[in-house]
């Protein structure tokens, strides 16, 4: 059986689905990702589906499940690169992927995750270090 590779880049796990997945391959990816999140302690997962020419209800459900599992394991998931025809079809199929964050491409997905991480860090930072960083946020 083919396997979808999971790459670690800094604090992010990147998955780029390049094959027409059998259902078993999608389920295997779900398990592999959960394992890698725990092994690496990464806080972000990006799933690139720009090579997929369809997302049916099974793959859609798998993406939603991956996002839920990641959240329970302290990581956020962003699905990136969905093709316009796939988006139109998914919504008409009745699947709007609730609970899944999306971005148009990997770069924007990484920015989204970095933003979350920064916000999270702020909420948990001690008061004395905050001032300089907060100025940056206000400006941006």
């Amino acid at each position: 059986m083919e396997r979808v590779p999971v790459l670690k880049i800094g604090d992010i796990l990147l998955v780029s689905i390049q094959i027409d997945m059998e259902d078993q391959v999608a389920l295997q990816l779900q398990e592999d990702l959960a394992d890698r999140i725990v092994q690496t302690g990464c806080h972000g997962v990006i799933i690139d589906i720009s090579a997929l020419d369809i997302v049916d209800s099974f793959v859609g459900r798998t993406l939603a499940t991956i996002a839920s599992i990641s959240r329970v394991l302290d990581a956020e998931t962003v699905v990136v690169g969905m093709r316009p025809a796939v988006a139109i079809t998914l919504v008409e199929l009745g699947l709007s992927l609730p609970g899944i964050r999306t971005a148009l491409n990997v770069e924007l997905g990484m920015a989204l995750l970095a933003g979350w991480h920064r916000d999270f860090a702020f909420r948990h930072d001690d008061d004395d270090e905050d001032d300089a960083d907060e100025a940056v946020v206000t400006a941006s």
């Binding site: 027409d20 259902d23 099974f58 316009p84 796939v86 139109i88 199929l93």
Partner: protein, 139 residues
């Protein structure tokens, strides 16, 4: 099958595994491209075929898929027929309701697939099996 349509030779695939569902998607994609369905319509038809082929496998216990070009007057399109000798569908109205499932899925396969195609005919009998024919026409 609707009468009056000129049906070219259909290709048949047997559906017995996950891999076969992938093959169905690839065949339907190739056919959809060959009659120049728009990209969105190709995507809709292939997605519907994927849902229905999975149903054939999961609920029907496997079966066959026949797919081919269909012409009616000036229109061309692709017809895909899914046949199984499984348990059949006891309550068709219920099975076509969004969110209803007996298989642990999302319950969108049948109802969603129907929305994605132009024609959707279903023939089912408890204990005998199910036959679903879908057609997408070029616009």
């Amino acid at each position: 099958m609707t009468t009056g349509d000129d049906l070219a030779a259909m290709e048949r695939l047997v559906v017995r595994s996950d891999q076969d569902v992938v093959r169905v998607r690839q065949l339907v994609r190739t056919l959809a491209v060959s009659v120049k369905l728009s990209l969105v319509d190709q995507t809709k038809l292939v997605t519907a075929a994927s849902e229905l082929a999975r149903n054939t496998l999961v609920y029907g216990g496997g079966g066959t898929v026949d797919a081919g070009r269909v012409d009616s007057g000036r229109r061309s399109g692709i017809r895909v027929v899914f046949t199984d000798q499984g348990p059949g569908i006891p309550d068709l109205d219920l099975a076509l309701t969004d969110g209803y499932t007996t298989g642990g899925g999302l319950g969108l396969g049948l109802s969603g697939a129907r929305r994605l195609v132009d024609e959707f005919d279903i023939d089912t009998a408890v204990g005998r099996g199910t036959r679903i024919s879908v057609t997408k026409w070029c616009r």
